[in-house]
């Protein structure tokens, strides 16, 4: 097991130059999530138009994995419908539960784009929660902002 498997260059790039960072108006819901064991935190806002996530904006502090994860998530979900974004979150969860099984990463490569680089994190149980924090925040904010498909 190599440390480089977790700290992929693509992850470090997102950490150093995060995409979409900053809190923006207007927004429909804002949530604050923390990782109480290590102090990582993210404040995340979503703007929903119809059922489309038109913006996800955020601010946070924490380790490279947690901060790169929210940046990669931003790229993936903005412009998608809320159900599509949440489904992508489920795929990311599967990737985190793969325990380093590369076939899961291969299968999800097209849907997860840059975020598939987090596959190596699944080999470090203590870090999985770092990668998942922003996805949990997105799920929470989406639920508050979007009531579900129109009847």
């Amino acid at each position: 097991m190599k440390l480089q498997d977790m700290y992929q260059e693509i992850i470090l790039d997102h950490y150093r130059n995060p995409h979409g960072r900053g809190l923006r108006d207007p927004f429909d819901a804002e949530v604050h999530h923390v990782n109480p064991t290590c102090g990582d935190e993210v404040t995340l806002r979503v703007k929903v138009d119809g059922d489309t996530l038109t913006d996800v904006s955020y601010q946070g502090q924490g380790c490279s994995i947690s901060q790169a994860s929210v940046s990669a998530m931003y790229d993936l979900v903005v412009g998608k419908s809320v159900p599509e974004a949440l489904a992508t979150g489920e795929d990311f969860m599967r990737l985190m539960q793969a325990k380093g099984d590369t076939s899961v990463a291969d299968e999800l490569e097209d849907t997860l784009e840059d975020a598939v680089a987090f596959a190596g994190v699944s080999k470090y149980p203590a870090r999985i929660k770092c990668a998942l924090m922003s996805w949990m925040a997105l799920k929470d904010a989406s639920a508050r902002a979007w009531g579900g498909p129109a009847a």
């Binding site: 440390l3 700290y7 290590c38 102090g39 924490g62 380790c63 490279s64």
Partner: protein
Amino acid sequence: MTATATTPATGRTPLPLDVEAVRADFPILGRTVRDGKRLVYLDSGATSQKPRQVLDAERWFYENVNAAPHRGAHQLAEEATEAYEAARATIAAFIGAQPDEVVFTRNTTEAINLVAYAFSNAVTAKEPEFRRYAVGQGDEIVVTEMEHHANLIPWQQLCERTGATLRWLGLTDEGRLDLSDLDTVVNERTKFVTVTQQSNILGTMPPLAPIIARAHEVGALVMVDGAQSVPHQPVDVAALGADFLVFSGHKMLGPTGVGVLWGRAEVLDALPPFLTGGSMIEVVRMEGSTFAPPPQRFEAGVPMTAQVIGLAAAADYLTALGMEAVQAHEEALTGYALEQLQAIPGVRVVGPADTVARGGAISFVVDGIHPHDVGQVLDDQGIAVRVGHHCAWPVVRRMGVPATTRATFYVHTGYDDVDALVEGVRHAQRFFGVDGGEEVR
């Protein structure tokens, strides 16, 4: 009691303990981690490793004596009771206490909660003798900003239950305890003061004597949190002069699941119970019950007997090494580590920068690398440290850092471990492409 207020230790002074001989007693230090690397265990502050002598003592109890102490009339019960009480005497002697003043709890956290709940149980106790230490509106409880969550939240909760007010002593920018307002924070309304003997994150050892003197001057009780001090330095409750001392077995080479509340006999006598049930009673009737004297009053249920036996073996092990030698050993390592770490550009120690009035918990931050990531790179080299806020969130907030990486030392730690840490931090800087805080790629 604290031999640290002398010239700061620097360089590689000879270590008082024979590190190789001590390491041979710790089976776990023989294993490798992360693809065959030697385990460099610098996380004793979270929990210590266990020498064979402690493991053997637990095994001896289960294989030869196992029975519930203070119950039953059979031979095993007698022997178990004898072993349990002999262990209590050994552990009491380790801190210069009388056996009846030593109460076994699950850990430091439970020992602190025991006292906090006893204070609020005193409010509603039907027995007049148990109301002596009741707290309520108008009363004040004093903590410090340096406390572990275990010595903060029970007091926040006590105040919420009883209407008492929580006050605290703050920190200086260097991570020392700020005593400038001691006489106003601790005042005639103060009923209870609690303070750590060594910060688990900063390593700071606050001056206890003036705090204890001031508390007693206003008639308040004082608790000392010894979780990070009792394992690492000689502590004598008579010299300390506090009313309570709490510590954990698992941080002093003992098993998990056993901790100690020491209380002055007169104070314990006046405290109502926390947990109730079997073996803490005097007479039980359907209409109501009376309670045993301390320490049994605070030990409901079958106790963690094997763990108490193991903890006594740990106390014996430390006594054989000599607690002065243990303290001097760690002070030498701490001086060397502080010097070496602070020589790395981009590394900043969070807490006192020298060994004056300081123990061996060293927290640091590395510019450009989050503490979590520093810990991960160290782990990849077989070096176990702790990362995060170390259950002392107000401390990291006060010190203006999001989290820290923390190394802690113990009896098996040698200069080779410190060198591994220092090289590991430099490796982390190379790995993340930061050097002296400047990104180089």
